[in-house]
């Protein structure tokens, strides 16, 4: 494999979980809920995925467990942010800390003596397509779970897009919750469901990371991917195509970081780390084109 191909492979490999989480987060943010706990959701998903796979011996059941792990945190975020009106930011940060501590604790308790062999997914090389030069292995060498991720992303984007009935209701909730409520939309329910969906997708993303890429669990293995997913939504200006593009870009940037020494380029990796965030700042400050966050983002809804 050439270096370029390698970069693409690891780039897409990094981008896929990022993409799943980002598209999930996009749904929540369109409804007005900001999930800073995305990081924690992914980490929980990774942990429960590995735990599930190791306990049952089946990577598929592990993946399911990963989704449930994400949902657990999502339920907490939904209850606290929507029903109790707690500050979404506080909850997000605290949930991340909780997830980090709990998964580390859990790993020590439950995974320490299980040995290194985690039932995971193997890559499938799709005949013919996999042999396309340069991009073949990257695009068509995913694991089965990876393909599930792609499917989930496409289905979500199609079923909940802004032109669909559900998508419209979600957007209404995020734009003007008071008006939406008066129109008869169940604002709190919509937001809660969106958060749950996001957390399920984040759990799936964590499972993909743990069972398809790294094939193990290590403390804090998500290392900021969750935050990057939130950033991808911002950089993508709250539109599905933008988010996908941003996620792929960030994934490639990440892969580039590790490839730089091999390329002989003297740019410090830290500079590359900054790029996604700088892009997002530029995007959101409207220095290039128009961008608008959903008007009700982070404002909890209370019927006065």
């Amino acid at each position: 494999m050439t270096l370029l191909t390698q970069i693409l492979v690891s780039g897409i490999g990094f981008a896929l979980p990022l993409l799943v989480a980002a598209v999930g987060e996009l749904v929540s943010e369109r409804a007005g809920a900001l999930n800073l706990s995305l990081e924690g959701m992914m980490l929980s998903g990774a942990f429960t995925a590995v735990l599930g796979a190791v306990t049952t011996g089946s990577p598929w059941l592990g993946a399911l467990a990963g989704i449930l792990g994400g949902l657990l945190l999502g339920a907490a975020q939904a209850v606290l942010s929507v029903r109790a009106l707690a500050d979404q930011i506080v909850v997000g940060i605290a949930a991340n800390a909780l997830a980090l501590a709990a998964t580390t604790f859990g790993a020590r308790l439950l995974l320490a003596d299980r040995g290194r062999e985690v039932p995971a997914f193997d890559r499938i090389a799709i005949p013919v397509l996999h042999d396309i030069p340069v991009v073949g292995p990257a695009l068509f060498g995913q694991t089965p779970l990876g393909w599930v991720c792609v499917l989930v992303v496409v289905v979500t984007a199609v079923l909940l897009g802004p032109r669909t009935g559900r998508g419209l209701r979600i957007d209404a909730t995020g734009e003007d919750a008071v008006a939406a409520d008066r129109t008869g939309l169940p604002v709190r329910r919509v937001r809660a469901l969106c958060i749950l969906l996001t957390s399920a997708m984040a759990g799936l993303a964590g499972a993909q990371l743990a069972l398809s890429e790294v094939r193990a669990f290590s403390d804090n293995m998500t290392a900021g991917i969750g935050y990057l997913a939130v950033v991808a939504v911002i950089a993508g200006r709250w539109r599905a195509t933008g988010t996908v593009l941003a996620a792929v870009l960030f994934g490639l940037a990440q892969a580039l970081q590790y490839a730089l020494p091999a390329l002989g380029v003297a740019v410090p990796p830290a500079v590359l780390t900054m790029i996604p965030y700088v892009i997002a700042v530029v995007a959101i400050s409207g220095l290039a084109g128009s961008s608008r966050a959903p008007s009700c983002l982070t404002v909890p809804f209370a019927r006065a």
């Binding site: 900001l34 800073l36 907490a76 209850v79 606290l80 109790a84 009106l85 707690a86 500050d87 930011i89 506080v90 909850v91 940060i93 605290a94 949930a95 800390a97 909780l98 980090l100 501590a101 709990a102 580390t104 604790f105 020590r108 308790l109 900021g224 935050y227 939130v230 950033v231 911002i234 410090p268 830290a270 500079v271 780390t273 900054m274 965030y277 700088v278 997002a280 700042v281 959101i284 400050s285 409207g286 966050a293 983002l297 982070t298 909890p300 209370a302 006065a304």
Partner: protein, 367 residues
């Protein structure tokens, strides 16, 4: 019943609930409640070393939180504590390692801290400017700049041309050279305690902020701005300038905290030196809900729990992460129940009159 809805009572109940969960977890790890609690308390308060370490942490939390509260009063949410800590730390290190070796403390220390404050202010000034002139959400921009700041620190300590200490072997750690002695935060001199004057600075700052917010015209105007920006503008508050200074000020406070972190043993700048204080400080600020006493209480609680955790692991064999779990639960329970209780209290009050017909758009976004 309504007495139970008082914020302090709610918070106390939340803490209690979280502690119970913690005890259960400790039990899972094989330690009975008594051992757990005694190890925890001993870790928090047992040795003056532990107390000293905790106080230093409390000082950082207090400063970040106090800055957060100022901005919050003006209606701005500063999520950028981590990045501002980094900016402050970098500036402090740059000055602190650049000064000649024999610089006296009364020159070095203020220089370092002022530089840190200025850097923190500048780091917050970008989101502040974007908010004031383009209406961009400061929640998002400050959050993003956190990661840029953290990456910047990594950059600084990895590059010899920047702040990295001279590389003498392959084992030279990626961190800065130590700060000159004059720039070290003086210790309080308590026996075997690493506590520095940082805590004094923090408490003084807290008192000053309290007085500012409650008893000065500036504080009143900031409060008005946060609640009703249009009315505040009508009544003569220079809205744009006030917002810019409030967020910038929050950055300055966090910057000083970053400088203090670097000016404490081992007096070097290294990756991860912020230890999440930026986020923890924000949490402290939000949970305090405007009261300086509450802020101090929460800061002390969170600051001391960390030491307790370390001892818990050493003595009782319970993973230190248990304490982190309890901390997170405390925050979640307090946040959840406080908002819920506030809603119950509000329900007992008649609703505000229907707002009159308002203009749909104004030229120049105001939130």
């Amino acid at each position: 019943m309504s007495r139970l809805l008082h914020p302090a009572a709610v918070a106390a109940l939340a803490v209690a609930a979280a502690l119970i969960v913690g005890l259960l977890l400790a039990g899972l790890a094989g330690a009975d409640p008594l051992t757990t609690v005694s190890a925890l308390v001993e870790g928090m308060l047992g040795t003056s070393y532990a107390i000293g370490e905790s106080l230093n942490g409390v000082a950082v939390l207090m400063l970040v939180a106090a800055g957060f509260v100022i901005a919050y009063r003006a209606g701005l949410v500063n999520v950028g504590g981590e990045g501002q800590l980094c900016a402050g730390g970098i500036a402090a290190t740059a000055i602190g390692t650049g000064l000649p070796a024999g610089t006296p403390a009364f020159v070095a220390l203020p220089a370092v801290l002022v530089a840190a404050a200025a850097a923190g202010f500048a780091w917050a000034a970008v989101p502040a400017a974007l908010r004031v002139w383009r209406g961009t959400s400061e929640i998002i921009t400050t959050l993003l700049l956190n990661f840029v700041g953290l990456a910047l620190v990594t950059l600084m300590v990895h590059e010899e041309g920047l702040l990295r200490q001279p590389v003498t072997s392959s084992e030279t750690l990626p961190q800065s050279a130590p700060l000159v002695e004059g720039a070290h935060l003086p210790e309080l001199g308590l026996s075997r305690s690493p506590a520095t004057v940082g805590i004094v600075v923090a408490v003084v700052a807290l008192v000053a902020v309290g007085i500012l917010l409650r008893h000065t015209g500036t504080g009143l105007r900031l409060t008005a701005l946060g609640h009703a920006p249009e009315a505040a503008a009508r009544l003569g508050v220079p809205v744009a300038r006030a917002r810019f200074l409030a967020l910038g000020g929050a950055g300055a406070f966090a910057g000083v905290a970053g400088g203090m972190l670097v000016a404490t043993a081992p007096y070097v700048l290294a990756e991860g030196f912020t230890s999440g204080y930026g986020f923890s400080g924000l949490v402290v600020g939000l949970l305090a809900r405007g009261s300086m006493t509450a802020l101090a209480a929460v800061a002390v609680l969170l600051g001391f729990l960390v030491s307790g955790g370390i001892n818990l692991q050493l003595v009782a064999g319970v993973p230190a992460t248990t304490v982190s779990i309890v901390e997170s639960l405390i925050i979640l329970f307090i946040a959840g129940s406080a908002a819920w209780a506030a809603r119950r209290r509000a329900a007992l009050r008649a609703p505000a009159p229907r707002p009159a017909a308002t203009q749909a758009e104004t030229v120049g976004a105001e939130r």
